[in-house]
Symmetry: C2
Subunit: 352 residues, 2 copies
DNA sequence: AAAAAACATACAATCGATTGTATAATAATA
DNA sequence: TATTATTATACAATCGATTGTATGTTTTTT
């Protein structure tokens, strides 16, 4: 059935006029007489014409398309950012290509190449956890394709726009909240600390302990891939190895949910025996029992801002340079997994 | 910073050879001497050359790209199908463009136009709930762009490939299971029955009732948009209007989760007072308490199969014609929301 | 009515890569 | 060595749309 698609040349020939006039008519140029336009439009419709964007973009050297790369589209945070990005992009007349790296650098690399080869006007990216060597990303803007990071970025790249969440603060607030609920020995589940966001959440955890004069104990920090299974497994481990742990700050909700499942199964009371906080505000966290205290990251807003940064760049051409970084404060969402019945005296801080 | 990207012509000029040779070298044609290839590749690398796929695709009249349209990428079922699609597509050397209609026909229409304008080689689509008039889709293959439906399709379009889930069966099994758990008055929450999949789930519900000689009562069927809030609201309604209802079959998990939240809050025991079954196997359903009985749809498998159908078509060119439909059986997943303590005698069926 | 201004359309080059054909250079055969 | 076969590269058209310039028409002005 693969009949050839109509072109402006066919339209031009059947009407006995030039293709340039057809092109202008279809672009509603005022260099074409209204009557002629009408004739051309009618014929275009009749032939089922659709503009070949490959040709158009090639000629105009502009694709009106923004590429978006996220680790996983199924994560609530990322699908929210995508919603925000699409909202702003469509308003501004841009299309959006969504890609997922599945946390693999190799896929990320291929995706970047492909987006560049397809001449997207810009790229919005939240990098894969694996990504250490950002060469494919530096190439990207050396190449003339502007890049904006959101959430997960490459710290060493200063020449691009960034929209970040203050993960240190998020980690701090979650941990401080646990302390204020009376926890004195708080464990931490995290991904490898090479990943900036996890390093920062860990940093927040640590400095909250410090503020309240609680000792930092590396043995209470467990590193994993932070899937639900990991949370389950590590909860078991921490309970057995450190029976006096009374709080856990999980650097993401998936691990927290896994941990919660273990604790419930093991008969450990949450929050009174162990209080539990997660990070990211996955939808499941609101529904699970007890509902999970977590940190919301304003995904949609981040998406909007990141897209704005890129759109600004398209218009002004220089805003991205010089470490244009927007930092958003996350928001602690307190739910049942940390709401203790009786709260002991809060320890004095070592600040003020 | 928008320095112009290198082209094969630049490479050719700096090396004093013809661009056609460069093109062939970069495509590893055996019409170019190995030594020349090496020289060309080196220069390409040096200049940071990336093939302009706009030009290449235009010339070759092939984009090696498959467009995928789903209602929402955040739905577990759809992100699973996308995983399956990407897996097969990448194996076969195709790229995938992911788009979400957000259940709006208008967006769907725009997306289809845009994919066609970008000359994707084919489209995989699960239509928006709103979509009644499929003109944009019929145009699509009249136009020469092959189309494969998965999950949600347009029943009247026979000329395309389809990979479907047997929703009638899913609805039947969920309802039969409720009956076997002792439910005698079973409500049903559904979306407008114009949507094929919901009509089918409803059909399955109805025929299960029939099989076990239970009356079908239209008053127990509640139509909504099936968001979590709707489930909550309608659970309240059904409990107040029909206090003797002892089971609910929700045509999706979101509404079921909402309903469960209401029932728990209202002190209605699940499953013993009211047993509850959902549809789609969202991750939350496994985690909520009580865990939710639901119907799994094998998203990844559906994605693989749909993509296969399209790839077959690319190779053979005619498999899509004549209602090539693959129907998959869904799988009932029994969890706590329907596992009753004491199960009464199961009513005799009117079949056999 | 002639000249100037405004308008409508045609011509032709271009975007960057691909590809059939032609030509030149080298190798193999007689 | 002359001739054919083989190999390597160059030439030129093409994909479909856009756009600056040129040309021809109509309208307006004087």
């Amino acid at each position: 059935m693969s009949m050839k698609k109509a072109t402006i040349h066919e339209i031009a020939k059947t009407l006995g006029i030039d293709s340039s006039t057809v092109s202008r008519a279809l672009n509603d140029s005022d260099r074409v007489k209204p009557a002629t336009k009408k004739k051309i439009r009618a014929k275009a419709r009749e032939l089922g014409y659709t503009r070949n964007l490959l040709a158009s973009n090639l000629r105009r050297n502009k694709s009106n398309t923004i590429g978006v790369i996220v680790p996983r589209i199924s994560r609530h945070f990322f699908s929210s950012t995508i919603a925000g990005i699409e909202e702003r992009a469509h308003q501004a007349g841009y299309n959006v290509i969504i890609c997922q790296s599945l946390e693999k650098v190799e896929r990320e690399r291929k995706i970047v190449r492909n987006l560049i080869a397809n001449r997207v006007d810009g790229i919005l990216i939240s990098i894969a956890m694996e990504t250490q060597d950002p060469r494919h990303l530096t190439e990207c803007f050396e190449n003339g394709t502007p890049l904006v990071f959101f959430d997960r970025h490459v710290a060493s790249m200063k020449q691009t726009g960034k929209v970040l969440i203050d993960d240190v603060r998020g980690g701090f607030e979650a941990t401080e909240h646990l302390i204020q609920q009376g926890c004195r020995k708080i464990g931490h589940f995290t991904a490898p600390l090479e990943t900036e966001i996890y390093r920062n959440r860990h940093g927040g955890y640590r400095s909250a302990l410090e503020k309240y004069n609680l000792p930092y104990d590396g043995d209470l920090v467990f590193v994993s891939k932070m899937m639900q299974e990991d949370g389950y497994r590590l909860a078991e481990k921490i309970v057995k190895e450190h029976p006096d742990v009374d709080g856990i700050f999980c650097a993401n909700d998936f691990a927290a949910i896994g941990a919660l499942n273990y604790l419930k199964k093991a008969g450990v009371k949450v929050p009174n025996d162990i209080a539990l906080a997660g990070f990211s505000n996955e939808p499941t966290s609101a529904v699970i029992e007890p509902s999970l205290t977590t940190v919301d990251q304003f995904g949609t807003e981040i998406g909007r801002l990141a897209c704005n940064l890129l759109l600004d760049y398209f218009e002004n051409g220089n805003t991205l340079v010089n470490d244009q970084t927007i930092m958003l404060a996350p928001k602690l969402i307190v739910r049942d997994s940390t709401k203790r019945n009786k709260i002991p005296r809060i320890p004095t801080t070592n600040l003020s």
